[in-house]
Subunit: 141 residues, 4 copies
């Protein structure tokens, strides 16, 4: 089940900063960067891995964030677009580690980098559940 030494694909999603993301420092509010990563993953789940979040929910699964780690390099401001690069870092029995990098669209300067550990859960009781083989296969691109 482990996919060691596997090199996973990197996928990209470009998002537009929304005015309601801007905080008192005139930057995107720090916790919103994690929402951007989430949005990028949802987009990529459907577009790049071939299984949308809705498809997970329909099968009785959901994904919880277990660990989030983010290092901020420079802030995004009103009008910016951001390119979010993510790749699977590791597929585990009950979850997936996703590594991300955020670049400012236009000049490509680094905005933030980090990782999230997601755990797959049974949607009804929130308990961790083993990732089905077909999902592991989809994520092993």
């Amino acid at each position: 089940m482990e996919a060691e030494n596997h090199v996973y694909s990197t996928f990209e999603t470009v998002l537009q900063v929304r005015p309601d993301d801007i905080d008192m420092n005139q930057h995107v509010h720090n916790s919103r960067y994690l929402d951007y990563v989430l949005a990028a993953r949802y987009d990529q789940m459907e577009r790049c891995y071939g299984m949308s979040m809705q498809a997970f929910l329909d099968r009785g699964f959901s994904w919880y964030v277990k660990v989030a780690h983010i290092e901020h390099k420079r802030g995004l401001v009103l009008g910016d677009k951001v390119r979010i690069r993510t790749r699977v870092g590791e597929v585990r029995r009950h979850g997936v580690k996703v590594v991300f990098e955020m670049l400012r669209e236009g000049d490509g300067k680094e905005v933030a980098a980090g990782y999230c550990d997601y755990v797959m859960v049974n949607k009804d009781n929130g308990r961790p559940t083993a990732i089905p083989e077909d999902v592991v296969a989809k994520y092993s691109v």
Copy 2:
């Protein structure tokens, strides 16, 4: 079922502005005032009407916002507390009109005023449903 000419009670909830509520204008972001009204209603549902949102959900109901109308008088800033006064304006077959007023704690100056029309729905299909008599009774204080 109509409760015409009924004078409904006014209830109050005091909330502390959170830093993530502040936007680029150094004020609470305009849409967050509606979130404050929502928070006040949830508090009051349990504390003042004797039926928490969870109790509604447990009975298979939820509340949707049908109409929201808000007039902003002055902005709340970092460190402010706000007193949210709400009262039922009208109880209808499928919903409740709630009138609200928001006052800055300390000097009592008006922050905003408006109303929300809430509709009661079946939680599973989102369809409007008649408000049960016992709920009408609870809301008729």
Copy 3:
């Protein structure tokens, strides 16, 4: 200065629902629809009226929401896109009334409709200020 009997242009912006917009009812959270309207206006300020929000800020102006009125028709869900149509309803001395309509992308069904009264303010003290003639001209397309 009044622009009576003027028929203003309608502009459109398409937005993708973000996962962090979804609330406990599995719909876009009610107050986020107003954030979508705001995002559409910011996009259109630059793209359709030829003066970005940043350009307003650079000239010492900002826009506050004075009144927001929204009627929800149907909820947006995860994966949806929404088409936001706005047009100037009236240009006043210190502000602009903007009428909006939101349609679900794909089937064009109505999601919400309403209006916002924006007031132009001096960015530094938050006081209402007369809209400069050149801005009135830009908004009179």
Copy 4:
């Protein structure tokens, strides 16, 4: 300037979960936990360290989040209160590491734990700036 081997005080703030914090999984949305930490720090800056965020802003300073790391143990739900314990982990030349723990009010079960590295910046240009001695003193309780 380094405060090695110093044992810093732990301070606590209790927050009420707001309905708009709940996401599609019926839990507080993952990025909002970081907003709770921020709210706790703002509260404690004023109440426990004797220098409010506003006082920092008035002196031309602001605080940026450089690194955020959070491990989620269990989700908060509608109606929950959360106790946020924070303490200074390290005072550096340009910033402060803050360690936090979040406990569910009532049963005291662990909700999340982690740390944030904050950097002090010049409010006007966003550049890191050395923490003034009097601030270091205030933070060394």
